[in-house]
Symmetry: C2
Subunit: 249 residues, 2 copies
């Protein structure tokens, strides 16, 4: 028996998120079915991040166990041949049998993209949020800096019954503009439900001048979801990478 | 009566090209219908470039005449409210009544995008051609340089009955790589049927080492479509901009 780790990219537009559910097709379901038809046995993958409907990924992670003789690094090629074009395995590799994609220390990186121009660009409409108005990038950068570090991010989360602690550590937030696209790239040891989207939504309010950068400290201190800005639209969010420092050589 | 010029962006994925035809929905048809329902009269736009099925645009151009009192620069806002998200007017402006988008000297810029990485990226699958193998960028750049200038591009065109001359002038071809994306940006006074896609397909053959850069001169001289490489896939092509030097102030 081998445990195989998959790095999974997808365009979330046409999926009801990652996690299998009864009321819509999900990425995990399509992946399980592709593995099932490849291996001739039922496969239940375990995913690292349960991304929401409409959220994209370049590097979500899933693992599964198999007795197949297919070399672990070949699963990427074999699976991509059968998967729809909006899901692409980026890498497959063997991991130790006790590697768990969720119950292991992770460093996750998300990116939120805001297309900031008068009119939308059809080619980028599914992977970025379009905002026509002015956004003050420097103010947004200052506001973001207050979020770096270990904080209680309760104000930046949608309440979720299965969460014990709302304390998380953000290692870095980089904000930059490339032509007409604003990128917000956040790296941390984990994120609460909707956390990156609420951060992005709040930073947009800062960019519009509705929230001053210094208020971010008050919003954190409030530990109240109502203190922060709105939850930014799912389609602008991409899970870029999940790293497992304990398992990396 | 006013003549209004529209700068039109679209994701060509779901359209049978620009030009109205009987066997599928086209960008021009959707645009005409949006104008018709906005103005309450039948509008027939005249387009600058009849892009093929699957080809995208950031700056195609269309004009129409109207007696409407809507200020010409407001048509962009009014039309975008009714258009599907994969078509977006970027600009609307009044032009002189004798301005014709096709029978006027133009400077057109197209860009072909090649996503050059082992596995495709779902988020960019509809706007770039994915190639997993190595491509020698410097060889491609050298090959491209031989195409700059005034040449008979018969070898780089699919034969078309309504074309008198196959001589065109390419002002510039820029080839560069940004992370994993190769951009081929071509500016010229006009392009023959499939010309940019055949140039892109031929440059990919150069990148793969199947055609030497210096052979481009022989391919041009052959004046024979069979001398060049294959026609690259439509989805990698975007019409970036059409300029009208005679009409610009």
């Amino acid at each position: 028996m081998k445990r195989v780790k998959l790095t999974v990219a997808y365009d979330g537009t046409n999926y009801c998120g990652w996690q299998i559910q009864s009321n819509g097709i999900t990425v995990q379901q399509v992946l399980n079915e592709a593995l099932g038809s490849l291996l001739g046995e039922e496969i239940k993958t375990v995913g690292a991040s349960r991304t929401d409907a409409g959220v994209h990924a370049l590097g979500n992670v899933a693992v599964f166990d198999t007795t197949s003789r297919i070399p672990p690094e070949k699963f990427s090629f074999a699976l991509n041949a059968g998967l729809p074009a909006d899901i692409r395995i980026q890498k497959s590799e063997e991991v130790p049998p006790d590697f768990h994609p969720r119950f292991t220390t992770t460093v996750k990186t998300y990116e939120y993209q805001i297309l900031n121009r008068t009119f939308g660009d059809p080619a980028r409409r599914l992977s970025s949020f379009h905002w026509y108005g002015k956004l003050d990038l420097e103010e947004m950068q200052e506001a973001a800096s207050y979020l770096v570090g270990k904080h209680d991010f309760k104000s930046f989360a949608t309440a979720s019954p299965d969460v014990n602690s709302t304390v998380r550590t953000i290692y870095s937030i980089r904000l930059w503009k490339e032509n007409d696209m604003i990128h917000i790239r956040v790296t941390g040891n984990g994120f609460l439900y909707h956390m990156v989207r609420i951060i992005a939504g709040t930073l947009m309010e800062v960019g519009k001048g509705k929230i001053r950068p210094g208020q971010m400290k008050d919003i954190l201190a409030a530990e109240d979801r109502r203190a922060a800005g709105p939850t930014a639209c799912a389609l602008g969010l991409t899970l870029m990478e999940i790293r497992y420092p304990e398992w990396e050589s």
